[in-house]
Amino acid sequence: MSAVWISVIVVGLATIAIKAAGPLLLARRSPPPRAQAALEHLAPALLAALVVTQALGGPDGGFAVDARLAGLAAGAAALLLRAPLLVVITAAAVTAALVRLVG
């Protein structure tokens, strides 16, 4: 079997298992209150890490500052103006595209 298909199958099976692990581990029982409180703080911690890594992450790790940051700033400005989600992400994309066009 070729390296391509081995990687497709192994990565696919590993990802399916990783995604299923949490829902299987916590099947039919509620975690204790302190663990539940921690779980409810997992989303903001992960979302914030996704903002940082998606806005600043380089292709091979490390930082890369580029038009994404201008786009994120435009999205944040739209959020402060209480714009709906569609407007927020459109503002980010259009701003980044314009910065690339000019830059």
Partner: protein
Amino acid sequence: MARRTVRRLPDAQAPEPGRTYLDGVRAAAPIGVAALAFGVSFGVLARAAGMGRVAPVVMSVTTFAGSAQFAVASILGAGGGLVTAIVAAVLLNLRYGPIGLSAATAFEGPWWRRVLTAQMIVDESWAVAQRDDGRIDRHLLIGAGLLLLVCWTAGTAIGAFAGDLVADPESLGLDAAFPALFLALLWPQVRERSRLLAALGGAAIALVLMPFTGPGVPIVAASLACLIGARRQP
């Protein structure tokens, strides 16, 4: 596009009024456009990297996680070796461990149904399925996940079979749509002080680790910031 309503829930057990699968599809629709475009670029890149036409499409259905798939294609294409490609992809996808845990209480039914439903988790579907109390709405997750799966896979097929016809998503600024999406979904959650602290902690951990680790590790490590919640439990 259904705008997320910001409301204060009196306690974490309060039920969310009925959201449907269609609400999930609607919530993910704008980001579906970006997923389609990036699917096209994955298809193009994977084919150029020697993965052929069918394997990238199979990978988009089964792995269904953009960053890991891009990593495999670029490592194999650069002659980086099978083991390197697999390790990089698994590291990138380890974040779905804590993400799956945070979504776990939303799942119901027998084990096989949990396993199937869990496959609808990607960063964006999980993000749009957030309720303001930090839990996950299962209907939103499944609706959003299915739409994104269709867009991502269709994009991959277009890229792998007819890739020369399509514009580069980065020139359209679509890569900037993702951090803005996550910021917008984080926004209503951090009105509460302890969740704001968890968000700041997660961002700080990711920033500190990014120069030193491969991609993927900073997000997994950032999940430790959720312990702020356990400490503050009365």
